[in-house]
């Protein structure tokens, strides 16, 4: 049984509106509490933001959720099934995909190949099917290619379909990583700073891509420093500070929350301007 089927079986078919449930996460490094009792939910079909000043525990939280860092304690449930402590590739197979702050694409492979690598890890065709070029294999390839083309069109990079991703700009590579994460139709995609290092004129394009994908039913959890980007895009925002959840609510409510402004050292508006 693959990880996703296991997760489904574990969930017992119960209807859950929260696709991701994070409860009481703890992680310390050499006595420093990087994450100290963080809990939150991400609703299916939403764009949820996770913000906080440097060192607030955002990256540790998503590394723990996605299996790239072991957690000290706490639970993570995906679609109702416990994924706490699973290896990162098993979490991906269960339906939680992620991107990284520093872009991770295969630079010498074409855009098409980058996406097909992601697709093919999930299709049912094995190496014998591939060797014999069975109907099942050909069907899986055709479905993967169709999905890859659809996503490439959505991110507006169709003209680079066969080009090595090494020639793309940093922002474009981030979009390729996003498309790769969406290839297997995951339950949720966690984006780690999707616009960090992206040319400010391109940030609007990223926003539009994410809004289009969300309208098509994709769920996102976004970690980002750019407060304006988060407040424009997100339905729900969670604020971390010093490893704890400081506040959560709608973007408007968070914008008006004095504790959040204080956490950003009282310079939140300036910070927004500088980063936007």
């Amino acid at each position: 049984m693959d990880a996703r089927a296991e997760a489904d079986a574990d969930a017992g078919g119960t209807a859950v509106s929260a696709v991701l449930e994070v409860r009481d996460l703890h992680k310390a490094y050499a006595g420093v509490r990087a994450v100290d009792g963080v809990s939150f939910d991400v609703q299916a079909g939403s764009i949820t933001g996770l913000i906080g000043p440097n060192g607030s525990g955002k990256s540790t939280t998503i590394d723990g959720i996605s299996g790239f860092q072991p957690l000290d304690s706490g639970t993570v449930r995906l679609g109702g099934a416990d994924i706490t402590g699973m290896a990162s590739h098993r979490i991906a197979r269960a339906g939680l995909m992620r991107t990284f702050q520093t872009v991770r694409v295969y630079e010498r492979l074409s855009l098409r190949e980058n996406l097909m690598i992601a697709a093919q890890q999930f299709d049912a065709a094995g190496w014998i099917d591939e060797l014999l070029r069975t109907k099942r294999y050909r069907g899986a390839i055709a479905a993967g290619e169709a999905r890859a083309r659809e996503l490439t069109r959505m991110i507006g990079l169709m003209k680079y379909w066969e080009a090595p991703t090494g020639i793309l700009s940093y922002g474009q590579k981030k979009l390729v990583a996003l498309a790769a994460a969406l290839m297997p139709k995951p339950r949720i995609v966690v984006l780690d700073e999707p616009v960090a290092g992206v040319n400010p004129t391109r940030i609007r394009e990223v926003e539009e891509v994410l809004q289009t994908l969300n309208a098509a039913g994709e769920t996102f959890l976004i970690v980002e420093h750019n407060v304006e980007f988060i407040t424009t895009l997100c339905h729900h925002v969670i604020v971390l500070d010093q490893g704890r959840k400081l506040s959560e609510g709608s973007a408007e409510a968070i914008h008006a929350d004095a504790r959040v402004l204080e956490a950003y050292l009282g310079v939140a508006p300036e910070l927004e301007e500088a980063e936007a």
Binding site: F68, H89, R93, R98, F100, R104, R108, I117, Q120
Partner: protein, 295 residues
């Protein structure tokens, strides 16, 4: 010393055939390094296993070359699979020192077990082709060398197709190029690592089987070759597969020419002199480094 063009051509052909067999060993090392990020010091002993399997399979098949070659490749691949499942799969990423000690210990253990079982005496391996060869004018090259080199060339072509066009190969390149991105899209690291080890050791077994009728088969033959293979992987640009193949052919040529034109003692030193020269002039090797670069 002679500058006779026929003699030079003969040496060149010998060099290319030898180089292709060295390349099989070097490429296997590069594959394992690319995916597991470890140096397999037991690689030479897996070659020796392939050579011994060839030496024993040939008489069993009435000296028929091809069935014995298949048995030898399978024997090395199975030995590689066992090596992975029992030892290498237990290593965590970044445990380079531990991997060196484990594979070095295994190398010594396998060497001595084979020595205990079959003695250290070198064996001459005969095939259906004997010392027959192909003659083009005054140039003569034995069939076992021609077939060994041809098999290596076919193996490289197949390897290229596998790495470039199959899911099996793409997963290996993905892990080698960017491990976290590969894990993110659900690539199973242990399955890919096992596939890489089995593929690498099958190539190594092919080298052992092809070398058996050309060289003497003895327990120490792998250790003797493995250090040359390390040098090739470095000269070729760590992780660059075509680079390792090109470096291996270059080495085969240098060895053959040096052996033909200078005192034979220089033949073995030549590769390491070449490696040191390359590393001083181009610290990253002759070709661009790359995590399992296939083109």
């Amino acid at each position: 010393m002679s500058a006779d063009p026929i003699y030079l051509l003969q040496l060149t052909l010998n060099g290319v055939t030898l180089g292709l067999l060295y390349a099989l060993i070097a490429v296997g090392l590069a594959l394992i390094f690319g995916v597991l990020e470890i140096i397999n010091f037991a690689h030479g002993e897996l070659l020796m296993v392939g050579a011994y399997a060839m030496a024993f399979a040939l008489p069993a098949f009435g000296l028929l070359y091809w069935p014995a070659l298949v048995v030898a490749v399978l024997a090395s691949a199975i030995a590689g699979w066992v090596l992975y499942e029992l030892f290498l799969s237990k290593l965590k990423l970044g445990e380079l020192e531990r991997s060196i000690l484990i594979t070095l210990a295994l190398s010594i253990i396998i060497l001595h077990v084979v020595q205990l079982l079959f003695t250290a005496s070198p064996r001459i391996v005969d095939t259906q082709f004997g010392f027959e060869g192909v003659e083009i004018g005054a140039i003569r090259i034995t069939w076992t060398r021609v077939i060994g080199a041809g098999s290596a060339a076919v193996a490289f072509a197949l390897l290229f197709l596998v790495l470039k066009f199959t899911q099996f190969g793409r997963a290996m390149r993905a892990i080698a190029q960017n491990r976290e991105a590969a894990l993110m899209v659900g690539i199973r690291p242990k399955t890919v690592a096992r596939n890489a080890v089995v593929l690498a050791t099958a190539l190594c077994g092919l080298a052992g089987a092809a070398l058996a009728p050309v060289h003497l088969v003895q327990p120490g033959m792998g250790q003797f070759l493995i250090f040359k293979a390390f040098a090739l992987v470095i000269i070729g640009g760590l992780g660059n597969i075509p680079g390792a193949i090109a470096a291996a052919i270059l080495l085969g040529l240098v060895e053959s020419w040096v052996g033909g034109f200078f005192q034979i003692v220089w033949q073995e030193a030549a590769v390491f002199v070449l490696m040191m020269g390359v590393l001083f002039l181009r610290p990253d090797g002759l070709f661009k480094r790359g995590a399992m670069r296939v083109g």
